[in-house]
């Protein structure tokens, strides 16, 4: 089964995604695809907090900051994946250095869809960053547009799509397994 969860920050996406992944995995292997490439103390603290939240749930962490093929598919890992988050993966891929990688959005989309096809179960987490008044610079707009395109491609592919708001679930497609 494939699930896409999106919504605003700190609305309960990751917690629900963990619960769903564990439920889908049953007694099988479960993987946490970690997308953040830590750059400072704040990032390390965030990673430590997330690791603590996953303690005891049986996740194996796969560092997946840049390429899903390299980190997961080529290494033949399979089972249930929690992919958190599409937002971070795209940022890593699109802004690797001083120059944006304009081929990244299509590549990331193809990799995520390949993961959906490859894995037994996948729960994707993304972020809804589309409803503010701010008029962004063109680079930020290109990033928002690219993330939206990937979200829509995933939503079309996934069996279930839901938005989290204050911990409440709004289902747009399919039904959640728990």
């Amino acid at each position: 089964m494939t699930i896409l969860l999106s919504g605003g920050a700190k609305n309960g996406k990751s917690a629900l995604a963990q619960q769903l992944t564990c439920s889908l995995a049953g007694i099988g292997p479960r993987y946490y695809a970690a997308t953040m490439i830590p750059r400072d103390e704040e990032d390390f603290a965030r990673i430590a907090r997330h690791q603590k939240e996953r303690e005891g749930l049986g996740f194996t962490t796969i560092l997946c900051g840049k390429s899903i093929f390299h980190s997961i598919i080529n290494k033949k890992y399979n089972g249930s994946f929690l992919f958190d988050s599409v937002t971070a993966l795209l940022a890593n891929a699109m802004f690797p250095g001083s120059e944006p990688d304009w081929a990244a959005p299509k590549r990331v989309e193809a990799e995520l869809l390949a993961l959906a096809d490859w894995a037994q179960h996948t729960v994707f987490v993304s972020d809804a960053i589309y409803c503010d008044t701010g008029r962004y610079d063109w680079l930020t707009q290109a990033y928002r547009q690219s993330l939206a395109q990937i979200d829509r491609a995933l939503a079309a592919r996934c069996d279930c799509v839901a938005e989290l708001c204050a911990g409440q679930v709004v289902v747009y497609k399919g039904a959640l397994p728990v």
Partner: protein, 125 residues
């Protein structure tokens, strides 16, 4: 009138084309100046029209009703710009508030209101 709202880049126009059997020629895209051409069946980016009204010192929630006879059977599409931090600029604050009031007024008149999220519809009315 059918009202379609949602965040930027969510696939609102594409959904409306499919849902209402529109063609590209049916669609008018609002700019930040001037009035919508309501001879088209579908008007998109109404948030830009709200800004055009504010440039002229007119509240968009009132100005749009001057065209009510013409949009009574239209498909109206607007970006939701209501979330995020309160903008620093007074013009953007007025824009956000005017757009919100305009959408609330339009939604009251609408036969259907649909919110698009990741290309998927949620019927609000």
């Amino acid at each position: 009138m059918d009202l379609v709202i949602g965040g930027a880049f969510q696939g609102k126009t594409q959904w409306a084309i499919h849902q209402f059997g529109l063609t590209e020629g049916d669609i008018f895209v609002c700019g930040e100046t001037g009035n919508p051409d309501f001879s088209h069946r579908c008007i998109t980016h109404l948030e830009n029209y709200a800004l055009a009204c504010l440039h002229l010192g007119e509240p968009p929630e009132a100005a749009i009703f001057a065209w009510q006879n013409q949009w009574a059977t239209a498909v109206l599409i607007c970006d939701d710009i209501s979330c995020g931090v309160v903008p620093l600029s007074a013009q953007e604050r007025a824009w956000r508030e005017g757009c919100g009031r305009m959408l609330s007024a339009l939604a009251q008149q609408a036969d259907t209101v649909t919110r698009i999220f990741c290309g998927l519809p949620q019927r609000l009315k």
